[in-house]
Subunit: 163 residues, 2 copies
């Protein structure tokens, strides 16, 4: 095939192509104590987002339910869910079905875990009794990024990931 | 939070948790000359699939259009599209918008590229004139896997990835 460049469709969304792991530490958005995320895509049309999740502490991190599909690919370290017997290690692929409730745990001896997650819909956070005590969706994630990037001098850095 | 295991919803789909890179070479399904894929998820409800794509030759591999969203994370090597100026290298994240036509190229000097792709909808293959000359969807991909795994003695290995 010759090196012809095809005309793209009118109104097509711009693509994204970035190194997932940022060189600038400020790109990591603090999520909780020793937990950060790095945005890669915010889908405001279907509702969902892709990001890296980075954790540098052991213990139980969060219990949540997913109303829609989640996939993950582990880039570094390992983690597991209390509700399952497997451990997600470097190079693992994970599919999390809609409706699943799980409790993310990073075990002692894992100094850092980084996972590429694509989350559709929302995260619904649950307390010990299984009652909702918070949620996140594409818009709350965008807002977290926007505040953080303005605070650290990166301005409207988040905009490049919003579609 | 205590280590309570929550009861999952009735009728919930089973999760998937596997090492993406298989130890058994037979798991790689031949796609074309020196091109293989490794299935990770076949979504027959929304239409789409996640897989690793492995290429061990340089040159123009395929020209295609996506009717729906695609995301990718490069695990090894590098590649590019003739239609864009960037090169996807190890650790790159890529978002490909619906409607995009692109021509995948692996450059000389790249012995192997492996990328984790999640493809929604279909791949519509195009010839030099931009006319459709083939397509793939979740069902053609499942069928390719089924034939290959039966031929190499892995039987119904593909079934674990179908939802």
């Amino acid at each position: 095939m010759p090196a012809v460049k095809f005309q793209q469709a009118a109104g097509i969304q711009p693509e994204i192509a970035v190194q997932a792991m940022p060189e600038d530490e400020r790109v990591w958005v603090p999520q909780a104590d020793n937990v950060w995320f790095r945005p890669l895509l915010f889908n405001t049309v279907s509702g969902g987002w892709s990001n890296l999740l980075r954790v540098r502490k052991s213990g139980v991190l969060s219990r949540h339910r997913h109303p829609m599909i989640v996939t993950g690919y582990v880039i570094k370290g390992s983690w597991r869910y209390l509700e399952h017997d497997w451990v997600a290690t470097e190079g693992s692929f994970v599919y999390e079905p809609p409706g699943e409730i799980h409790t993310l745990v990073v075990d002692e001896g894992v100094p850092e875990m980084i996972t590429f997650f694509t989350i559709s819909g929302a995260m619904i956070y649950l307390d010990e009794a299984g009652q909702m005590n918070g949620y996140e969706d594409v818009f709350t994630k965008i807002e977290m990024c926007r505040r953080h990037y303005h605070a650290v001098g990166l301005g409207d850095y988040v905009d490049q990931f919003i579609r």
